[in-house]
Symmetry: C2
């Protein structure tokens, strides 16, 4: 029944065959790989405004210069990644780059940071997608968490079915989003120039309570706002990871696409921030908050205009796509880690539909937990987000520097210099983010990463220890079994016991003992009587159990029997009667199961189940 | 670790030894067996008042005549049970009486009603115990449910440890309760006579909304109030169940104790109701309700007097004791039912501390569920309570009638007449309760009982079917195993495989096959190479699995091998490597477990695990 439900939800199993990949044109690739990066425009500006609000609303004007700084940072990072694209035409994910150039531990740090990031990508994007909708349709506001969980379940299921990475599906929402954002910015700027000073100031909402030390605009506060805006850069590395998917020449096409994406992202981000300042947008701290973008769009397009709704829907769609990229990346990274024996090997198995189902499910569950814990508030989740992203940026750039120094290919000095600047800048930003956002959640990520590294390492340690112990490299030649001893455990004399006894006699003809644990003197006496007739001459040992424990006397007896000979193999034979329906198992003591579990951990005993099947 | 926690909570196991029972004097027996009945005084009067409130508060005066009716009913029932005591000196629980005299189905109806009642006894008593406390200490009101669950857990744990039914422990709270109730009634009556009309009327609370059809005092309403008050009779059968615990002559002592209890119960119940009317007590419908008894005690003893607090504590204690009797009765009845094969046999096992632990835990869980569902409001739970009680009263009395008619002992006509009256009266009350309380919850109990009877019957059917199939009565003589076939399932060639192969060769020297499921052509090629050296000459079959399923091709192959010979025994040998720590299992595929489960349900295959133990 469960199997049927799975078929219905996930679909029929697919046969293993060479996984074909379509090669993507620049136009399609932009859509496929940039949804994560571009969608950050949906929340980054608001994050800056919220950070500045901690002073007074007059400070909001600083958003524009801060955004310019972030745009410069973006250009630096994009340039650094162009290098990676050229160096790794086979795809230069951070884990691979740092493993090759920095060693195991840095690569595990990067991997941990990335795994955390993918979970956060899903949680943030889905929460922001819901925010785009609830901003437009306020009545849905109380169902934020339910809506976000619904979206996560939907995308999880789609990925379990094995969503083909069909470029066209991605292209529509991405270009719709880019188009409507450009329309917003264009119309906004024109209205601004025509209308002059006639822009109505938004009503100033009640400013929430702010601790006193933040009241004045300080340098620290500006850094916090900058750190908040750095979430605009998340997802920018996606093109570098996906170079092999491009049409030939892959590296060239990928690096052109990266530049185009960086330009679009800069334009949208700067445009939004400038307009938010010009239109006096103030982040909505009410119980039914509206996103800053939604406020802006209402002002520019008009309150209930079609354009407004198109933009909100496009925002939601691109955010769902953004989280979908994490659903491709997380299972792939877990697969790499499982292949390298740092994660349980279950993550390396393809499911019925050829996807790494365990990774997909794990990501869905973790993201859902975060969404519930944070009430699907993307702005609260953002505090955790940027740390891991910039940690992996820095490691990736630093890995590239090491690579240039090792390879010494033509122009390596120039290349190393570019990546050094990248590493330096992203490293500095990492420190800024970690220190300014520490209390708001960055501490959790910074604590989790070393824990995860230790965990990954101990998993690896276990697997290598197992492989060493199982290796046949210097194993002794096989030695035949010389002598059999068999013990038959019985809970009564019934039809199920007879075949078990015969089986034991057939493998150890002159060395079988039957054992019974006495619980009730009367019952035992009857059993002994029956044994005379049905015992096939096998000696019966009755163990007493003053504390009514079955396992203790049994295990003790078995150990005694085991100690009798040195050169024998001891087989424990368990007669089991099997009800015909699974629920009927509940009506019988699960002693056989308990005994099997106990014997499993007791060395050197072979356990044989002789089933007797019941009907009805 | 889990085992240690259990030791700490439950205590060391106790040895099986003849269970010694202390014989109880009348004075102690009254305390032991009457807590359930006497404690009903804590809520029965209030239940009548609440039912009458549905009209207008002037109707509350009808409480006194209704209580007189209930007292008469109580006397009738007590007389009927005196008969049971004389007829069943070995203890005449309703289940036993109805099984002996009415047949299987009526006894199962009685058993179901009783099981439901025991659960309700715990839920009602614990909720009322909490109400006694929160009435005195209002700040605890928001933690009603938590407190009730805490009390249930405490009593469950105490019973798992095997609370000795030490009479003295019971005597203190019971006599404290009787003493303080008599003091309350005495002082109340004296004040009433001295003070004349000076009793201050309690402030009339806002009467909650009441459906129109109930607004006027109708005959139906009076019946409802009567039905509500019948909860005063719950627990009255306890003495009849426990006759063997009395000192000799058991029956005589038990019947005297029953009469004394009935007198005390009548006095306390009538006294409380009369005073509640005289002092104009109105049930408290507020959000932080105070029990009627607590209101009355405040008026009579004074608001913060020591006497008031003593009464509340005594009320709480006797209610906890009342629920404790259910913790003795429920596991005992489940034991009887399991012995008769109507419940899973797990209920017939004594745990480490000689108690029927499964019954104790089941009762605790069901009661906790009810408490949570009803927010620990005893007055809401009461609507469900009396139906089952009167159903079992009626069956028990009716069983006695049948018994007299069969036995025809001297005076059987008189005895049969007394029990007939009892059966008639309790049966009529049952109909009254079921009809007047139907919509408020009685329907649930009336629906649950037949469902439980069907369940009990189908469990019984299963057990008898199993016994029949396992019986050796006309079994063929044992036939020796003639020929062995063995299949070794391998997941690779490693040290764990070698002993499994040798074992298979030793039991079926010329009929062993190894099987491997191909998942990756490259890996399979390597494996075949290794097999040449380590395969000990055993032929290796490689199965292809286009859908990456392990089980399907394996089971198909095993079925084919099984079909080869008719006279052979097929053994499936599973090499298993066992990590040294349990959590390391998570790092390995649980394929062995899956395969064992699949083979268990596939007829006639013997499964042998050959373990290979890993270190560290």
């Amino acid at each position: 029944m469960l199997a049927e439900l799975k078929r219905l939800m996930v679909g029929q199993p697919l046969a293993t065959e060479p996984l074909a990949h379509e090669r993507l044109s620049k136009r399609i690739a932009l859509a496929v790989f940039s949804s994560d990066a571009l969608s950050s425009v949906a929340y980054a500006t608001e994050a800056i405004l919220i950070a500045l609000m901690a002073a007074q609303s007059g400070a909001l004007g600083y958003a524009t210069p801060i955004s310019v700084g972030i745009a410069l940072l973006l250009i630096t990072v994009a340039f650094s990644y162009r290098q990676t694209i050229i160096a790794y035409p086979q795809g230069g994910g951070t884990y691979i780059v740092s493993r090759e150039n920095l060693g195991v531990t840095p690569s595990l740090v990067a991997a941990s940071a990335l795994l955390i990031d993918y979970v956060l990508t899903v949680a943030v994007s889905m929460s922001a997608a819901v925010a785009a909708i609830t901003s437009a349709v306020h009545v849905l506001e109380p169902y934020r968490v339910e809506l976000a969980i619904g979206l996560i379940s939907l995308v999880t299921l789609a990925n379990l079915r094995g969503l083909k990475e069909s470029g066209r599906i991605f292209a529509v929402p991405t270009y719709l989003f880019i188009g409507s954002m450009f329309a917003l910015i264009g119309v906004g700027l024109v209205k601004l120039m025509l209308g002059g000073g006639s822009v109505p100031a938004a009503p100033v909402p009640a400013i929430p309570y702010v601790p006193e030390e933040f009241q004045e605009l300080s340098f620290f506060l500006l850094l916090r706002a900058f750190a908040a805006g750095c979430t605009a850069l998340t997802g920018i590395e996606a093109i570098a990871d996906g170079v092999p998917a491009f049409q030939k020449p892959e590296s060239r096409n990928a690096s052109i696409t990266l530049v185009i994406m960086a330009v679009i992202l800069c334009t949208m981000f700067l445009g939004t921030t400038v307009l938010a300042n010009a239109y006096h947008i103030i982040p909505d701290g009410s119980l039914e908050p509206e996103t800053a973008n939604s406020q802006l769009a209402r002002m520019i397009f008009g309150n209930n205009s079609l354009f407004y709704y198109v933009l909100q829907v496009a925002t939601m769609l691109i955010l769902v796509l953004a989280s979908n990229t994490a659903f491709a990346d997380f299972p792939r990274l877990s697969y790499f880690l499982a292949q390298d024996r740092f994660l349980p090997r279950q993550f390396a198995q393809r499911g019925d539909r050829l996807v790494f189902s365990n990774g997909v499910v794990a990501l869905g569950i973790f993201a859902a937990i975060l969404v519930i814990a944070f009430g699907a508030r993307e702005q609260s989740l953002l505090h955790l987000y940027a740390v891991g992203v910039f940690l992996s940026f820095t490691l990736s750039q630093f890995g590239m520097v090491q690579r240039w120094r090792k390879m010494r290919t033509p122009g390596w000095r120039r290349n190393a210099a570019i990546n050094s600047i990248g590493a330096l800048v992203t490293g500095t930003v990492l420190v800024v983010i970690a220190s300014t956002k520490f209390l708001e959640g960055a501490w959790a990520v910074l604590m989790l990463i070393p824990i995860m590294v230790i965990l990954l390492r101990s998993i690896h340690h276990h697997y290598t220890a197992v492989a060493r112990q199982l290796s046949l490299a210097d194993a002794p030649p096989p030695s035949a079994v010389r002598r059999h001893t068999a013990v038959v455990l019985i809970s009564g004399v019934h039809r199920g016991v007879v075949p078990a006894l015969q089986y034991a006699l057939s493998i150890a003809p002159d060395n079988v003992t039957a054992v019974y644990v006495d619980m009730d003197a009367e019952v035992t006496a009857k059993l002994k009587e029956k044994w005379k007739r049905w015992g096939s001459g096998v000696p019966l040992t009755v163990l007493s159990s003053p504390y009514r424990s079955l396992l203790r006397p049994l295990m003790q007896f078995i150990d005694e029997i085991d100690a009798q000979y040195d050169d024998d193999v001891l087989t424990i034979v368990l007669p089991e009667f099997i009800p015909s329906k699974w629920w009927q198992h509940l009506l019988h003591n699960q002693t056989a199961l308990l005994i099997k579990a106990a014997l499993l951990f007791s060395k050197g005993k072979i356990v044989t189940s002789v089933p007797y099947h019941l009907e009805d």
